[in-house]
Amino acid sequence: MSKVRVLVGTRKGGFVLTSDGKREKWDVSGPHFAGWEIYHIKGSPADPNRLYASQTSGWFGQQVQRSDDGGKTWNPVGNEFKYDGVPGTHQWYDGTPHPWEFARVWHFEPSLTDPDTVYAGVEDAALFKTTDGGKTWKELSGLREHGSGPKWQPGAGGMCLHTIILDPKDPNRIYIAISAAGAFRSDDAGKSWKPINRGLKSAQIPDPDAEVGHCVHHVAMHPSRPNVLFMQKHWDVMRSDDGGENWREVSGNLPTDFGFPIDVHAHDPETIYVVPIKSDSEHYPIDGQLRVYRSRSGGNEWEPLTKGLPQSNCYVNVLRDAMAVDSLDKCGIYFGTTGGQVYGSADEGKSWSAIVRDLPAVLSVEVQTLA
């Protein structure tokens, strides 16, 4: 029987939630790396027992932990993320040039075919790659050295590269997104990059249509249609049907189009999920009602999903990497909150229940569907 493993990163440790295919009863293990910030844990599609975790601390820096047995045991691997050459400067909050400084890994994206190959998105924004299972990391510096680099600037959470999407049909194509620079695409396996932000409009920057400077919060893709991308921007939910060359707004009837995560149904590439958040100055749901919104038409028409979610006095946030889907039938949807709840739906979002309620603030949620 199928199993589901949910990998949860929190402010004070990592947790592994497991269930059978019914997704009714859950086993919770953790905290792993207790007391450390676990920004992200993700499994290899090529070997589901191979997991990578980003373990960070303001005191002791970055660790990379690797498990070869599905999260039962972990071992630290290489933690040196050295920018290639002289890294130069980006914009600081006050507009002055600021030297690139490594802070942490926000996101790991394991290769679709090789468990030893992983991409890491880091703060200050850059993309690194390992091909030896995490022992050594090398920067794909063509991204940071894109001519627009000096114009990139940090969002409130830091200048992070938080989204990495590998095209399953074209191994040379990689999408990434940076807050606050925007989305970029490589068509040569990461050597060179182009900004793909045409159509984004951001009132928070001097030129709302600028090539870079947009605060992209997250981007999602369905593997069957790698040219179709969905984006939750600072404000606005956006869609591209041409690999990011052009974007159009699909916020439609959302009550607010500010938010962080966005994800796509595992079996229906036109069904997408967001969690609307009141505003950029009030990071919680409108009226204290936690609602996931689903569109079955690839955007524009949205419906609230509320059954099982708190509909009063709920003032949590859902961060950009804290939503994921399984590939069972029916598709399961999962998200974690800054209040420490991890909610799951085993029926495409129709109804929800808390798998676990009182974890530290959730930073990331990933799901593995196991045979």
């Binding site: 207790a34 303001g58 005191w59 002791f60 820096g61 660790q63 630290p76 933690n79 040196e80 050295k82």
Partner: protein, 99 residues
């Protein structure tokens, strides 16, 4: 032997329970020599106390011994005699900060 007391998180990473006893193998006893020896014996500690590239102490890590803060001493400054003799420990401290 030099006695080193690590903070809890670094003990976990290094997989040690108590204090660490270090033999500097004839190296001149300095803070840098202690960190070199710690990192050689416990590779997981590389990058946790000082930056990989610059070798500068991480901002929220402190080094105390003999009721003195050695954090701002030069890394190659000599250690107090009592630390070298092993009668006083060398403390690696996670600075008080955060929540």
């Amino acid at each position: 032997m030099i006695k080193v007391v690590l903070p809890a998180h670094l003990k976990t990473l290094a997989r040690v329970d108590g204090d660490v006893e270090l033999d500097l193998d004839g190296a001149r006893p300095t803070t840098a020599a202690i960190l070199d020896a710690l990192e050689a014996r416990f590779p997981a500690l590389r990058g946790t106390m000082r930056d990989h590239a610059t070798q500068r102490r991480r901002p929220f890590v402190r080094f105390f011994a003999c009721e003195r803060d050695l954090s701002h001493d030069a890394p190659d400054a000599p250690l107090p005699d009592a630390v070298v003799a092993g009668t006083e420990p060398f403390f690696v401290i996670g600075a008080m900060a955060g929540g």
